[in-house]
């Protein structure tokens, strides 16, 4: 029953792309905040760990339903996590931000329309 109701390859690919884009944007924002000393190193590490866990899970699920093509965007973002983590371990904030931006650019996130501030 579960197999019969698993998402179609197109849907799996779309969901994987969405998750990859969202995590890319998260990594980029988190690295910038870490670079600006607005978040602690332990919290930044937590974000990296969570990103790794979620993307691994997402890649597995995408691969199962949509094959390698569906999992490709997830792998593209995940491949940057180790580089960011290395930079974070060295305390190299500039390198971490650059690697996180690269992760975000690998799969552009689907953004909602900006909510305007009143004039």
């Amino acid at each position: 029953m579960v197999v019969g109701c698993s998402p179609s390859p197109e849907k799996a690919a779309q969901e994987a792309k969405q998750a990859a884009g969202s995590w890319g944007a998260t990594l980029s924002a988190a690295a910038e905040h870490w670079g600006g000393n607005e978040i602690s190193s332990s919290y930044f590490q937590s974000v990296l760990t969570q990103a790794r866990t979620s993307l691994t899970k997402e890649a597995k699920s995408a691969r199962k339903s949509g094959g390698e093509i569906a999992a490709a965007p997830v792998d593209a973002v995940a491949s940057h996590i180790d580089v960011i983590a290395d930079a974070a371990r060295r305390g190299d904030r500039v390198a971490a931000i650059q690697a996180a931006h690269a992760a975000a650019m690998a799969v552009p996130a689907e953004k909602t329309a900006p909510v305007a501030r009143p004039e």
Binding site: M1, V2, C5, S6, P7, K11, A12, E15, Q18, A19, G21, S22, W23, G24, A25, T26, A29, A30, H33, N37, E38, I39, S40, S42, Y43, Q45, S46, V47, Q50, S54, S61, S65, P108, A109, E110, K111, T112, A113, P114, V115, A116, R117, P118
Partner: protein, 404 residues
């Protein structure tokens, strides 16, 4: 002056019941994924929960029955057994989600794996219920819960787009991802009228010996208190819509949700989010654990009161003593507190009719509420919202679970 203090205390008390891990998580999810488009669900759910809370309190004031006690008496033991099974399953999942929420809050500020905190949180929770009185448990944690006002301050600092927020109050169809939109809608409604809250509220009214003269205070508490809780939830939707959605950040984890506070508060953002999440969840976990004890004790006619010593109502104490560690085990075994939260909130919407319709029957029964019966508006509005939420839940949950 005493009345004003009572009302103020009632309002503060209701914050703890309204705002918990479910309200925080679903509001943040909705804002990040759909901007301000889902504010109408929050408004409709709040209206419904105001009616329901007022009814549960009025039932206690007039009949001196808690909700479960009256349902068992009016609908019979067979129906009560059905309610008991459903509520125990959902309450255990909600308890797991709340314990997970406190543990995740501690994880966010320390970086230590949340699972290490789960047993500690569970023990502190049990100790507080074991040693505390109802007033101490309720008022102490609710006052701490005022830290959640940080979400309102954050929204204010960001400059809320009131015009767009008003547009969000008008029901609208999803612009994308319909299955997720409706699953989130069900989660929001489930987080607002969690069945445990109604019986806990009525039991609390009996613990505090409310009577006919407390009916006006009950009304003020329901309207102002729940609206106040809704203001905080709306602030979370707006903050999330302004800070996360436009960057393309969807919420898969609490780490992502916490980032909504970085723009308004900078370095204080994550600690404030953690404090808000932790205190709201701790208050709610106290209520769920106590409600499980109320449920069994009232249903089976045991001694019950949080104001009694544990040896005076041993079976009441035994229920929360078993439930809390079991909830802790569930968080550790099931993992991913955010997923437990969203799923248990949707289940709340499925369970709601089982508790709400007997409440409506009781609130129209002269034997229980004499001349203080419901008006037709309350009956129709609550029935309509609960039926709609149930239908959406019955469709959206299988789609979300089986369709991935």
């Amino acid at each position: 002056m005493k009345n004003i203090m009572n009302v103020a205390l009632g309002i503060v008390t209701s914050i703890g019941g309204f705002l918990d891990v479910g309200a925080i998580a679903t509001a943040a999810l909705a804002g990040a994924a759909f901007g301000l488009q889902m504010l109408w669900v929050l408004a409709l759910g709040t209206l419904c929960v105001i009616f329901l809370t007022e009814m549960a309190g009025r039932l206690a004031c007039v009949s001196h029955h808690s909700l479960v006690d009256a349902v068992r008496e009016r609908c019979g033991f067979r129906y009560f057994s059905f309610l008991l099974i459903g509520e125990v399953i959902v309450d255990m999942l909600v308890l797991a989600a709340e314990l997970g929420g406190v543990a995740v809050a501690l994880h966010l500020v320390t970086g230590i794996d949340y699972r290490w905190f789960v047993p500690i949180v569970a023990f502190v929770l049990w100790l507080l219920i074991w040693l505390g009185t109802f007033s101490m448990v309720q008022n102490g944690t609710s006052l701490l819960g005022l830290i959640t006002l940080a979400f309102v301050l954050g929204m204010w600092w960001m400059g809320p787009p009131w015009h767009e927020a008003m547009k969000g109050l008008i029901p609208s169809a999803p612009s994308h991802d319909a299955a997720r939109y409706w699953f989130t809608a069900v989660g929001i409604i489930g987080a607002l009228f969690e069945p445990f809250m109604l019986n806990f509220y009525a039991s609390g009214a009996i613990e505090e010996k409310w009577s006919l003269k407390d009916i006006p205070m009950n009304r003020v508490t329901a309207v102002v208190g729940m609206s106040f809780g809704a203001t905080i939830a709306i602030s979370i939707v707006i903050l999330s819509a302004m800070t996360l959605g436009p960057k393309g950040i969807q919420i898969d984890s609490y780490e992502q949700a916490a980032m909504m506070m970085l723009q308004p508060f900078g370095a204080w953002g994550v600690p404030l989010f953690a404090a808000g999440l932790g205190t709201a969840c701790f208050g709610a976990s106290l209520q769920v654990a106590l409600n499980l004890s109320y449920l069994f004790a009232q249903g089976f006619g045991w001694n019950w009161s949080e104001n009694l010593k544990p040896h005076e109502d041993a079976r009441f104490a035994l229920v929360y003593t078993l439930a809390i560690p079991l909830g802790a085990v569930l968080v550790i075994v099931l993992g991913d507190p955010l997923q437990i939260t969203t799923f248990s909130m949707a289940l709340n919407a499925l369970l709601a009719p089982v508790i709400v319709f007997p409440l409506l029957i009781l609130m129209n029964d002269r034997h229980y509420v004499r001349e203080y019966r419901n008006h037709v508006v309350g009956n129709v509005l609550v029935s309509a919202i609960v039926v709609i939420a149930f239908i959406i839940a019955a469709v959206a949950i299988p789609l979300e679970v089986l369709g991935g």
